[in-house]
């Protein structure tokens, strides 16, 4: 089980990072969300895996480590707040900058203007 779990965490991390390295805000947001899944699972794993041992007193015989669960809860909420902010920020960037590239410059447009510049450049 641990192997599968670790593999999944690694996979989510890899996909999340790949997405955050993309150039469009939406992909980056997707990536950050994905990464936060990975992070939460990872942090959760720091208490080790346990089956049928929810930390409700009296409901199980053995208990999982409750602390990482609480930490992950906090992390989920904070992650949610951050995702919400970055989503709206992406919209704002589109509104202000006219495109959805993370650098605020559409590479195509930049390439076009670069060729123009080079012709008229004096400096």
């Amino acid at each position: 089980m641990e192997g599968i779990y670790a593999f999944c965490v690694g996979m989510l991390t890899a996909c999340g990072i790949f997405l955050t390295l993309r150039g469009r805000t939406f992909s980056v947001v997707l990536g950050l969300t994905m990464l936060s899944y990975a992070v939460n699972l990872f942090l959760f794993a720091s208490g080790r895996l346990a089956i049928n041992s929810a930390v409700i007193l009296g409901e199980s015989e053995i208990y999982a480590d409750p602390l990482p669960q609480a930490l992950v809860l906090t992390a989920i909420v904070i992650g949610f707040a951050m995702t919400a902010f970055v989503v709206i920020l992406a919209m704002r960037a589109r509104a202000d900058l006219g495109n959805d590239h993370v650098d605020g410059k559409d590479p195509d447009e930049v390439a076009a203007s670069m060729t123009l510049n080079k012709k008229g450049e004096i400096n």
Partner: protein, 89 residues
Amino acid sequence: MLDIAIQIVGLILCVSLILTLYRLLVGPKLPDRILALDTMFIHGIALILLYGIAIENAIYFEAALLIAMLGFVSTSALCKYLLRGDIIE
């Protein structure tokens, strides 16, 4: 006997989930995918309930309830998006 039933249903759910995933990936159109996702949510409910039965514990009931409620919100939001773009207009 119940154990066997649980195992059978577990197997069924796995097959079902894979079939749903197949539809979700293949599409061909977005409504197909949304339908598949919606079905997946319901399978999730079944999975959780089955797990509850298997581990003889009812503490996951709320999770199932929540999937039922929130899955619907999700599906309707997705469809609304396809219809109108703006889901909260």
